[in-house]
Each structure stands twice: as C-alpha cells, then as structure tokens.
C-alpha cells in the first residue's frame, strides 16, 4: 500500500521502519524541515515539508495516489482535518488518526475517519488485560473495544468445571464460539460439557465480558464502563 504519514513526531521512526518492513511505500509529511531531512536520510522515504492539513501539501505529497493516510499529530484537530481532507478532497480509501483525547474516538468515527487509535484507551485495555484473572490468556478488543474476543482456560476450581454449557447461563450478548481440548477443536452445543484444561474462546460485548468470565473463573464481576 502507498501510505502517507502526517506529522509523525517521534512515533514516525518506528512506524516507518515497521511499515516499510511489511512492504508498504511510505511518504512523510511534516512541518519541520530538519525532521523531514532526517527521516528521508535514515529511512530512504520521500518526505515533504509542509502543513498536512493543507490541500497543496497533500497534493504535492501524492495524496491522490495514496491508499491510506495516517495522521499522528499530538493535536486531535490537526488529525481530524488532515483525514477529512484526504478523504473528501483526495478520495483516500483509508484514513487512520491517532486520537489523544479518548472521548474524541466517537466524534472522529461520526465524522468519517475510518480508524482511530487512542493511546490512552490502548493502555487502559492493556492494563485491563493484564489485571484479568491469570487463566485468561488472550484478550482482543475489536470495534474500539465494543466487542471482545478472549480465551479462558477452565481450571480445577472453575465453577464451570464439568458443567454443560446450557447450565452455566451465560449472559446475553456473549457466546462460547469454540472450545479447544488438547488437539481437538470443538464447536460447542448447549450440551457440551466443559473439562479441566479446556480453552474457551468467548466472544462478548465489552459490557458483558466480565460477567461471562466470572462464570468461568469464579471471580466476582468487576464494574467496568464502556
């Protein structure tokens, strides 16, 4: 993909090398001339010095041919305007914005930015993931955390041990999508009985995930917002 990176600051370095390694073509737009030079020299990418929220700059940087625009400024307003410009004026298919104020994620989506990444939200999710019970191995938020997929292991003391799925009484908006038992993968039915060591792949809305997990782990559901 041809990717336009706007106002990368210090984040740009890592992102450029990571994206280049995946075979993408990167063009950098940054208002700071010396940073443009440094990035161009270090990573052998095309760099344009200018304001990424201006039509002329984006035109020069080849926004017309770009598949994606990634706006990384520390100011949300800059990222919003850059993405809107890319989308509306240059018909860039994918726009990604880094969002500093997590409250703006919803706003950006409403205004047509395709993907928003809030570092604060991400860290909160990570902490959340680490603070969950030990027997929950993986926790994958999707749709900005509205839905989560997670993997839980049935331990010896799990209240769900030897129970049939229908007996556990999962909350609505949560479903056991798959059970991994050793080498075997089971697409479960209500009558499937859980055994110790089973890995449960659970899909749930983020509101119900704690309740669903507590049924598997035995812990009390923690309060969680959003």
């Amino acid at each position: 993909m041809k990717i336009l990176l706007i106002n990368g600051n210090d984040k740009a370095d890592f992102l450029i090398s990571a994206l280049k390694a995946k075979g993408h073509t990167i063009t950098v737009v940054d208002p700071d001339y010396s940073r443009c030079r440094a990035l161009a020299d270090t990573f052998e990418v095309t760099a344009f010095c200018g304001d990424g929220t201006k039509e002329v700059t984006l035109a020069k940087a080849g926004a017309e041919q770009a598949d994606a625009v990634v706006a990384l400024d520390v100011r949300d307003s800059v990222n919003l305007v850059a993405c809107e410009l890319a989308k509306n004026r240059f018909h860039v298919r994918l726009t990604y914005a880094s969002v500093n104020n997590p409250k703006n994620v919803a706003v950006f989506k409403q205004l047509g930015v395709d993907k928003c990444v809030s570092e604060v939200d991400w860290i909160v999710n990570q902490v959340e993931q680490d603070s969950l019970e030990d027997n929950i191995k993986k926790y994958l938020p999707i749709e900005n955390g509205r839905i989560v997929i997670c993997e839980a292991v049935i331990g010896d003391r799990s209240p769900a041990l030897n129970q049939k799925l229908w007996e556990i009484g999962f909350p609505p908006q949560s479903i056991v999508s798959c059970i991994i038992r050793g080498e075997e993968t089971i697409i479960p039915q209500g009558s499937t009985q859980l055994a110790a060591g089973d890995k449960i792949v659970l899909i749930s809305s983020s509101r119900k995930i704690d309740e669903a997990l507590s049924l598997l782990s035995g812990g009390k559901p923690r309060k969680k917002t959003g």
């Binding site: 949300d76 307003s77 919003l80 305007v81 205004l111």
Partner: protein, 146 residues
C-alpha cells in the same frame, strides 16, 4: 434555562476569546442574547470589557464535555473563532454533527480549507479574504475621491 433567561432570545456559543471572539461576545451581549464564551486559556477572558456579565467557560472548545457544560444542546448560533483553523473546524463539526446546532460559523484563515465544509452546513469565513475585499474597497473609494 428559559426560567433564568426569560428575556434572552438566542443562546450563542463562542469558542475562542481573542480579539475576534471577545468583540463578537461583547457585541452579542448588548443585544438580547445569552452568550457563552469558551477559551482554553483562562487569562484570555481578561480582554473582555468590565461590564461583560455573560457566561465564560475555561476549557477546550472541541471537547464534547465542555460543550455540554456550555449547554450546546440548546445553542442557536455557534461561532468557532480561535486563531487555529483546525481547532475551529473541529469545534464547528462537533457542534454541527454531534449536537445539531442550526447555525454554525467557523473562522478559517486558510481559504482553501473552507469550501469542503459548506456541504456539512458550516459557514467558513476567511479573514484574509475579508481584509483583501475591504482594502480594495477602501482603495477604490480613495481613487474615486481623488
């Protein structure tokens, strides 16, 4: 709201209390309007005239929470007039799209950015363009009288 502002007809929110924002606010305060002025910098309100009694709010005018505090839901006219085009465009869009404010105006000094926001219902005005027009008008008058 109506209880406390029975004589006030329109609720106007102004984001940005610089020269433009404070002049706008002072102007509307003299009419029968209820004005809420928002600026990120509390010191900016010092520019207001001493007899200014309308609401002031220190905070980020692009932040939904701050706008809610300013009662944007009942707002009739919204002005985004900070010195930063992108801030103005974002604040204006939040007011328009998220809160459905009827009349939304944004100061957008870079005239090339303005047209994209017309279809969204935001009136974007470029101050360099206005100055150009005024200068030319003044020049025309001078030449006519010479």
């Amino acid at each position: 709201m109506k209880l406390f502002h029975q004589t006030k007809t329109e609720h106007i929110i102004i984001v940005g209390c610089g020269l433009l924002g404070s002049a706008l606010a002072a102007g509307f305060a003299e009419t029968n309007s209820h004005v809420t002025l928002i600026d990120r910098n509390r010191n900016a309100f010092a520019a207001l005239p001493d007899n200014f009694t309308e609401d002031i709010l220190a905070g980020d005018g692009t932040d939904e929470e701050i706008l809610k505090q300013a009662q944007v839901q009942s707002c009739d006219i919204f002005f985004a007039v900070t010195g930063d085009d992108n801030t103005n465009l974002m604040a204006a869009q939040v007011a328009k799209t998220c809160f459905g404010v009827k009349k939304v105006f944004a100061r957008v000094d870079d005239a090339s950015k303005a047209p994209a926001y017309g279809p969204a219902g935001i009136t974007a005005v470029s101050s360099p363009l206005l100055l150009c027009r005024e200068f030319r008008k003044a020049l025309g008058e001078e030449e006519a009288s010479a």
